[in-house]
């Protein structure tokens, strides 16, 4: 597989190298790649397990950070005493 990958990346026109894939990672994740770029990106991924793992890790890091902070997706209710305290802070000097 490694041999094939090397042959492909070195001799196939338009084939991305691992370095180039890395440069596309952000825009791929955020959906900013053109159709052609996305195709090239996916073609490389289909041949390169390292980059597939790398992309998985990248997505995972983002997902983990999101779940760490976003505990409940619904809007959080403001406790009544906090509401009162806030209103009071306006009038009291």
């Amino acid at each position: 597989m490694l041999m094939i990958k090397r042959l492909m990346t070195q001799h196939m026109p338009g084939m991305l190298t691992c370095e180039e894939v890395d440069g596309f990672l952000y825009d791929f994740h955020d959906g900013n790649l053109s159709y052609i770029e996305r195709f090239k990106f996916k073609l490389h991924l289909s041949m390169c397990p390292e980059c597939r793992d790398y992309l998985d890790g990248y997505k995972n890091a983002i997902r983990m950070s999101q779940t760490g902070f976003i505990k409940a997706n619904k809007s959080t209710e403001v406790p009544e005493d906090l509401m009162q305290a806030i209103l009071k802070s306006r009038t009291s000097k």
């Binding site: 990672l25 790398y54 950070s65 976003i70």
Partner: protein
């Protein structure tokens, strides 16, 4: 998951104008309406920065203090919810800056494993292995600091401020690149590079942590 603007219909906009008028005229009822109507949305924003009651509540309170102070200078034609959102975000960032502990130094050498564009500097067949190996010393230090491993939130807080901020604004608050650039007063290109770099750092740290919990007897030479 994307945020909806609070005022979407003509009716809402009409109500918003009335509300703003009441606020500018120092009407108590208008203030109560403001806090009740918009407080929850602002609280949710605060929650996404801190995810603890105390901090989120403190943030909301501080944000409203700013709101009350700045209502007289609020321009009638600007969007109230956008303005409130911006104030909440700014207060949260300010609180984070004050809270930020001086623990980041152990991470510093770790960042050098990436170039200025946030790209990995190790490739080829042993992709990942030599990278992890280089990083292991630094990361081990981070995780051994406490008796328990850091929570992910703590980890994000401990990233250098610029990385912490872009992650919180782009990945957690889900603001656009443009909005993030405006709030942080940096270019959109910088938002992009810093976010990419921040994500890669988190990725590397998380993978290292996984590896460590998988290999209990793992040692650094």
């Amino acid at each position: 998951m994307k945020k909806q603007p609070l005022a979407t219909s003509m009716k809402d906009i009409d109500n918003e104008n009335k509300l703003i008028e009441g606020l500018i005229n120092n009407n108590d009822l208008a203030y109560e309406a403001l806090v009740r109507q918009y407080g929850a949305k602002m609280y949710t924003v605060a929650w996404r920065f801190f995810s603890t009651d105390d901090d989120a509540q403190e943030c909301l309170q501080k944000a409203f203090i700013q709101v009350f102070k700045n209502i007289p200078s609020f321009k009638k034609n600007s969007n109230l919810s956008t303005w409130l959102h911006r104030i909440t975000v700014n207060e949260a960032l300010m609180m984070l800056r004050q809270k930020k502990r001086q623990h980041t130094s152990s991470l510093e050498t770790f960042y050098q494993q990436y170039n200025d564009y946030g790209e990995r500097t190790v490739f080829a067949d042993n992709l990942g292995h030599s990278l992890s190996h280089n990083l292991s010393n630094n990361i081990e230090m981070i995780f051994e600091k406490g008796e328990t491993k850091l929570s992910l939130n703590e980890l994000i807080y401990q990233l250098p401020e610029k990385y912490c901020n872009v992650i919180l604004l782009r990945d957690i608050q889900e603001l656009s690149t443009k909005e993030t650039a405006e709030i942080l007063a940096i270019s959109e290109a910088s938002v992009k590079t810093q976010l990419h770099r921040a994500r890669l750092l988190l990725k590397a740290i998380l993978e290292q942590e996984d590896k460590e919990s998988a290999e209990k007897n793992w040692t650094v030479n």
